[in-house]
Amino acid sequence: MYSKKLMDICENPSNVGTLDKDSPDVGTGMVGSPECGDVMKLQIMIDRATRVIKDVKFKTFGCGSAIASTSLMTDWVKGKSIEDALKFTNAEVVKELELPAIKIHCSILAEDALRAAVEDYYKKNPDMRPAVSALGG
């Protein structure tokens, strides 16, 4: 039921690991729940001057599509500015991994994890948060 690409990513996911969650430059997002069978933890390290995601790490408890979705998303956002990274949507994952309909929620969770990580970073660094209008754009 899975695409070869998805299987390959599961075999060798990228950006697995942990960043220092107490660092002011790191935003951490944790979404899902063990009861639902998926938990994703995503961490991004931001360069203050450029707003670029310098580093990104994740850990995922979940099925193959959840792991592959998070891995793919981390590849996508690494090196991008926060604003560009947030343009990422689950639809890209669905397309790229050819996710079956029943697994689409895994890709949504990856998107949620990214948003949660960015939000955590802004909480730590309120001065970095763009004006409301910019976010809405």
Binding site: G32, P34, G37, F61, C63, G64, I108, L109
Partner: protein
């Protein structure tokens, strides 16, 4: 050289034993007769073969030949037993007792009967998955006509106190059906000693072919009658019409004959391999939990929760091992196993469960390979698991405020 994927899913199905296959072959070609053709040699040969098979099946469970009804498989046997008995004895009462962890073939038959006005009691099980005979006794009312309780569970392998439940039913005059699909060949079964009135069995779980099953229907003390669910030519004492699957039945019979010969030794062998698998896993991995009864369990069955590692990703990580999972992600409904839920396995652990089942053709080399593969894959996936990381940091994941989501 190991044949891969290594097959450890004997609870799902088994390969046809080569001896069974050889016995079946002539009945596809030269002995192709219809067992219901009474007017010529082709029919007589087929009928004789069917009757021999019937005898072999009967002997394996302590029944007499005439008490065996052939079906298309255990799903049909369960449907016929539950639905057929309910409709036959409806005037006597409309109450049926079953358990929460029966196979869907029984549970869904019960649900259908509810729509016909029957009342069903779904008994809970203990943390090992056993139904208490005392609970059966307490559930029986004046209106109770049937109890359907499985001999052994297909997911966790737990064996029920069948004889004690049989006694309770007998005393109350309640017909006792047991789904013995997983039990046959892996535990002693005797319909007389265990007080069983109806018993479902399947060929493909015991190295016979798919597409054939049987229902034992008691003929005396009491004589059990059933309303058929398939109508037609009145085959099988009117209880199951349809031309008999002669090659399948011949194979089924042979499979039972072989079991009678090898069962004692095979049980010992499977148990050794199963224990070797479990010992290998639990001595090398922490936070692994056995689901099911520690002792009163099928000798080939091992259901394990590997905390912090989701079952489907674990199976993907060990693609060269054929097993099944209680994880939600492997089911169409995204619901974790109702059996694990019924025995009180926390949902987070239910997502991490894998069912291994060994069988006649499993060997030690395969088990050694599987142990190593499982240990390596679990370790690799735990490095990927945020839950494992939290557990290592001493955070109790039960106390975390999770965001929850779409399910």
């Amino acid at each position: 050289m190991l044949k891969k994927p290594v097959y450890l899913d004997y609870h799902a199905t088994t390969p046809v034993d080569p001896e069974v296959m050889r016995t079946m072959l002539p009945y596809f070609t030269e002995n192709f007769g219809n067992a219901a053709s009474k007017s010529h040699e082709y029919g007589w040969t087929a009928e004789a073969a069917v009757e021999r098979a019937r005898g072999m099946i009967a002997r394996l469970i302590g029944a007499t030949d005439k008490e065996i009804i052939f079906t298309s498989g255990a799903t049909e046997s369960d449907n016929l037993a539950v639905t057929g008995a309910a409709r036959m004895y409806r005037e006597k009462g409309n109450h049926i007792i079953t358990s929460a962890i029966e196979h869907k073939a029984v549970l869904d038959s019960c649900h259908a009967l509810e729509r016909e006005g029957f009342e069903i009691t779904y008994l809970g099980v203990d943390k090992y998955g056993q139904v208490s005979p005392e609970d059966v006794k307490k559930a029986i009312t004046q209106r109770t006509i049937l109890a359907s309780i499985m001999a052994a569970n297909n997911e966790i392998g737990t064996i029920n106190p069948v004889a004690a439940i049989g006694r309770v039913c007998k005393e109350a005059g309640v017909i006792f059906h047991t789904d013995a699909v997983q039990g046959v060949g892996k535990m002693p079964i005797d319909v007389e000693k265990m007080g069983i009135d109806l018993l479902s069995l399947s060929a493909h779980k015991i190295y016979g072919p798919k597409g054939v099953g049987a229902l034992y229907v008691r003929r005396k003390n009491p004589r059990v009658r059933l309303v058929p669910i398939i109508h037609g030519g009145g085959h099988e004492r009117g209880m199951r019409s349809g031309t008999l699957n002669v090659p399948g039945i011949v194979g089924f019979g042979k499979a039972c004959e072989i079991l009678q010969r090898v069962m004692t030794e095979e049980i010992r062998r499977m148990q050794h391999l199963r224990d070797m698998l479990w010992d290998g896993i639990r001595t090398q991995l922490e936070d692994v939990y056995l689901n099911g009864h520690p002792d009163e369990r099928l000798p080939n069955s091992l259901n394990v929760s590997f905390a912090y590692v989701e079952g489907e990703s674990l199976m993907m990580g060990m693609k060269d091992i054929a097993v099944s999972s209680g994880s939600a992600c492997t089911s169409a409904s995204l619901e974790p196993s109702y059996v694990l839920k019924a025995i009180g396995v926390d949902e987070d652990l239910a997502h991490t469960s894998i069912r291994f089942s060994v069988g006649r053709f499993t060997d030690e080399e395969e088990i050694r390979y599987v142990v190593k593969k499982v240990v390596d894959t679990v370790n690799k996936l735990r490095e990927l698991s945020p839950l494992y990381e939290m557990a290592k940091q001493g955070i109790d994941i039960k106390n975390v405020q999770w965001t929850g989501h779409h399910h």
